[in-house]
Point group: C2
Chain length 511, copies 2
């Protein structure tokens, strides 16, 4: 039995802890529709903050938002499928446009069968590419820098809230450029936007790098990712950015007249992050008392709980809380006075589990003395004991923004220490890898903490790469990426083959 | 041939003018998917402003945003269909979850047929009601005030950009209450939010009222709407708010324990506005030169066009424009310097057609003299001549916010005069109605301008109401609503039957 606010600790079972943290943190729940989630107000509030912060960055880098149809004609997908090996086929297919009432029962109307089935978008390269083909005529139209916020559907057999769901929400950037150089610069620029966003806003440190060829987006020349380390040591791919070469442009005839009047194929890119990021935030920062929200994305940064006692003095208490609320709002802080008709202690623990960065409890003594008593969610306890601080109200209000910044920094620093401290760079042979990961290889769900291995390899291609991937798969491992910041490689040998090394890559288990 | 920026005038053909205004205003275009639109950056920017303004009002009235699944199990729809007569059956049905490659061709995989078909949400009463049934337990949980921003799909045979599309975007509010009084207050409160929003933000005056029984949302006890008058005299239903009684609660078992411990059905409401509002804005304010965007929703309120001449002096001109841009930004104005590599005159007319509220053209003389030369989109011309104004830069910057407010007011005042001046309240017999509307009854698309009729009626029910609806239908008319603000009814007689009147209603043609 846990002495904490959740019934399962991370150590007992990380997957069960995750489920409980999501549920008791009021973030989301399973819906009656297989694999689709209901995002509850607190969870949606986080997504709204994510959207606002990231959208600003997407606009600041010159992109414009659009909206493209939910449905994609099957022929578009077929065109792509011909073109692209490894194309995923699990998707929701619309085949009819009407139901009919047959003897009091609602059934599919056979007269309303679509001539061509429609696919619920799993991603929008094909439908957006079709528009680009119409919109791009001359070099003057380039670069074309488009983004959309949308829901997408990928049929998934095993789902987990936020991490893998049939329907999820994301942004997808799609851009067209005159040449490789410009498109590659875009691909890398957006990867950097994701890195900075993840670290600054989500307090989630990541390693930016390039995926190996076998982990590329189908049709991409290069796929880059940011990878974050969760508290169970697993990697979460938190965002990807793809340089698509001219593959999609050729399949969809996206051509422009260059400055010499010659028709030329565009170079395109795409990049996206999704509601999966929220799963990353939960698994990065949560503790055995529930969620810990970085202040920059917390829907409410400070929650005030008046210790009401159903007595006449309550009015005074409420007035005091309202004044405090107004003062904090004036500082630009997202604040809430929780006046729900439930017990104060229950409120405290609700907000602890939801991860409100600062929880204030105002009792009669605080109000009389002009004080504020509060808890920091990032440093809730000393051993088993909950720590509360008391400060003069004016002092608290003046320091509130700094306090929130400090909490943001603490969450980042903790996650950063975990990431930096758990990349093992001493392995040089496959036997080292087996020795490190082997013991818990059979355990898919949690188990002993294992970090990542930072190893040298010869960057094989084709069949040789597949062989490496197979060997890793037996240990439930994948190559996460080759970090952009490479250590010196000369003189090192490949962990898999002993050949001279060409690259430093990160290996780990992943979500 | 038009002497204006569009090739078709409103008078020549309002429907063709609309199509051209949408297209040349860069708002949206048809997609290769039947009935689905692509919303382009300028159009999407308008929707972002609509969302931001309305979302704030929805939150200020105590609602929280959530997100519910895109798909609804067919059994949920069936439950509703049993319950609700007049239930629409045109919707997108997902029957399969996989495609397979058969001899190089992509086909439906018969092994991946869903056990139960899924409906792409046409509206979310059933899926949200199912969550409410789980979330509501006690009177302490009420009222439950939820909103979501989402895409929905209704299969439509005849579509028109923004006005009627198979997929559209909207917000849908869903709330549960302890009793009729509270639910009805909510229904009316949100109608008022829509009215205020439409008039203040969209500069689109509306009449708020109750729909007649035959025009109610299926399953609603009362449906209220706001109705706006377009420039062709037709009514656009711009938003609806429904009091659903306990119908949905009974069908979905949404019950709560009241203060006496007794299980009781909730009273529920729903209310929504959609991307259709954008069509309303276009048809309210556009002129023969294209769109005229109310400053409050214009993605760019002021656009600066430097009159570049590919000469060394261009650098100076650009610097001057950048300074002006910074000064206007500092005033909180959404401003853009258009540096696209196209001719200045082309830029001017692009922004005229898009409806940017203020278009500034900066030439060498302006820069040298410290001046600003600008056009107001609301008062673009004097006869055929375009009017431009010149002001000292400091003076222009200081007055810019006031100028934008003035433009917002002009657009509202023009639309308000049209609405107020075109409701004919002198008709007392059906023959009057026939005489007024009859001449153009056969013309579905545009034709002679006809306003609305404000008439007295006896508010018939059942078969008598159907008979009235049939007589109106022959003239292509419907009852729009019974305005909340009613003139005196005593002593008046029903236009349809001559009986004593019970209510004042508005009649018109509609979108």
């Amino acid at each position: 039995m846990s002495k904490r606010a959740l019934s399962v600790t991370r150590e007992q079972s990380f997957p069960e802890w995750y489920q409980e943290a999501v549920r008791d943190g009021d973030m989301a729940e399973q819906s009656p529709v297989r694999g689709c989630m209901i995002i509850k107000p607190w969870g949606w509030g986080v997504w709204e903050r994510v959207q606002a912060e990231l959208d600003q960055r997407i606009k600041d880098t010159g992109h414009e938002n659009c909206y493209f149809p939910l449905f994609i004609p099957m022929s578009f997908i077929a065109k792509e499928a011909e073109h692209v090996e490894g194309f995923a086929k699990e998707m929701a297919v619309v085949t009819h446009h009407r139901l009919k009432n047959e003897g009091g029962k609602l059934v599919l109307d056979p007269d309303a069968k679509l001539e061509e089935p429609l696919i619920v978008r799993p991603t929008s390269e094909t439908i957006i590419g079709d528009a680009f083909q119409r919109w791009v005529k001359s070099y003057r139209d380039l670069p074309l820098l488009i983004n959309q916020w949308a829901n997408v559907v990928r049929w998934e057999m095993r789902t987990r809230l936020f991490l893998r769901t049939a329907e999820f929400l994301w942004q997808e950037g799609h851009t067209a450029h005159a040449d490789r150089e410009d498109a590659m610069a875009e691909t890398r620029k957006m990867l950097e936007v994701y890195r900075e966003f993840s670290e600054t806003v989500l307090a989630m440190p990541v390693i930016a790098g390039e995926k190996p060829a076998n982990e590329r987006f189908p049709g991409a020349d290069n796929t880059y990712s940011i990878e974050a380390m969760m508290q169970d040591g697993k990697a979460l791919q938190a965002g990807t950015s793809h340089y698509l070469g001219t593959h999609f442009a050729e399949a969809q005839n996206i051509q422009f007249q260059n400055q010499d009047g010659k028709l030329t194929f565009c170079h395109t890119t795409s990049w996206g992050v999704s509601t999966r990021l929220i799963g990353g935030v939960i698994m990065s920062h949560g503790d055995d008392d529930g969620l810990r929200m970085p202040p920059k994305i917390a829907p409410r940064q400070i929650v005030i709980v008046p210790m009401l006692r159903d007595k006449p003095e309550d009015a005074e208490l409420k007035a005091y809380c309202a004044e405090l609320e107004a003062e904090l709002k004036a500082q630009g802080i997202r604040v809430l006075v929780d006046l729900k008709p439930i017990k104060s202690a229950e409120k405290r623990w609700n907000w602890v589990r939801r991860g409100a960065p600062v929880i204030i409890e105002i009792g009669g003594r605080d109000a009389a003395g002009g004080n504020v008593t509060f808890m920091r969610r990032d440093k809730l306890r000393d051993g088993d004991k909950v720590i509360s601080h008391t400060q003069a109200r004016a002092e608290f209000v003046t320091g509130a923004k700094t306090l929130l910044e400090a909490i943001q920094s603490v969450l980042y620093a903790e996650a950063k220490a975990r990431l930096d401290g758990n990349i093992v760079t001493t392995m040089t042979t496959f036997a080292d890898l087996e020795a490190y990961y082997g013991a818990s290889a059979g355990d898919d769900e949690g188990g002993e903490f294992k970090g990542w291995a930072g190893v040298m390899w010869a960057k094989p291609e084709g069949a040789a790469l597949e062989a490496v991937a197979e060997r890793l798969k037996a240990l439930k491992l994948t190559i996460r990426n080759a970090p952009l910041e490479q250590p010196p490689v000369e003189g090192k040998t490949c962990l898999f083959t002993g050949e001279p090394a060409k690259e430093y890559v990160l290996i780990g288990r992943s979500y």
